[in-house]
Amino acid sequence: MKKIEVIQNILEANETIASRNQQLLDKHKVFTINIMSSPGAGKTSLILQTLARLKGRLNVAVIEGDVASTVDAEKVQSEAKAVVQINTRNMPESCSLMAAMIESALKDIPLDNIDLLLIENIGNLICPSEFTLGEHKRVVISSLPEGDDKPTKYPLIYIDADAVIINKMDLLPHVDFDIAAFRHSVEGLNPEAEVFQLSCKTSEGIERWCSWVLEQVETNATKR
């Protein structure tokens, strides 16, 4: 019997493809945001709001990840420059998008004509935190009806986020959500994260979010 030292990251296969994706995106100057949240927190609504605001300023493509259906892709179809729907139902893993799925979706996007790619991940606060896709920024959405304890229950996804969005602010009078406590938990886990309070329903706060996105795209463009 012989012992072999290995010391190899089990997620390396995903990470290798993710960095290949990022190289391709950088080559075509496509800034990419991975949007994560639990189901129903407002990923599609945020994408629709962002598309509406950035129309005429940036060419935006969207990758929609869902276990099944093309409902979300149909919703964003008319506003985005390109949309690719990924259904994970028949894939070995259905709980998160993975770098290989993005690699193949990128083949269907005219990257030369795109400035910004929004990736809507599968609704889940656990698995997507383990798989990088090649994105430049990671965004997590929490919505008021979910409760203010999500950063405490699912810390990893908040630790790795570049921005955290509190959505459905219009429901504040109707739910017990302690904004200060939520922000305090996020700050404890991740002092660098930018926090946005907004409502995709009333558009309150969307302007500030879109300015941040524009700023990120511009900063990234000048770096290259």
Binding site: M1, A13, S96, I126, L156, I159, L189
Partner: protein, 113 residues
């Protein structure tokens, strides 16, 4: 929740390393899994038994070394173990913390013949 893909990766790495070592059989794979990584050993074992059929890794024992979560307080640098979901520093009660251990996920070594 996504142990299938992880197990496929473990299989691929193990078979590649065994091939490099010109081994005929994989006896044991030693894995290091952080408590916070969210992977369930029983689930990995289940998929492994099925995926390894008719390969030189069939019947290999998977050994899981679990690394307990360890946090570091950003205020006073105290290293501590979190109690359940409460991530407050036992010394200064600060809640600004970073994970120093517990997110590991790698193959440490293998035994082959």
């Amino acid at each position: 929740m996504h142990e299938f893909g992880i197990t496929e990766n473990i299989m691929n790495i193990a078979l590649a390393k065994a091939g490099e070592a010109q081994a005929n059989k994989v006896i044991r794979i030693n894995l290091v899994i952080g408590e916070m990584s969210g992977f369930v050993p029983d689930c990995i074992q289940f998929y492994f038994d099925s995926l390894s059929k008719d390969t030189i890794a069939q019947g290999a024992a998977l050994h899981f070394e679990s690394v307990p979560a360890q946090l570091r307080c950003r205020n006073c640098a105290t290293i501590f173990s979190p109690e359940d979901t409460l991530w407050a520093c036992p010394k200064c009660r600060g809640q600004s913390v970073e994970i120093s251990k517990g997110r590991e996920l790698y193959i440490e070594s293998m035994e082959v013949e």
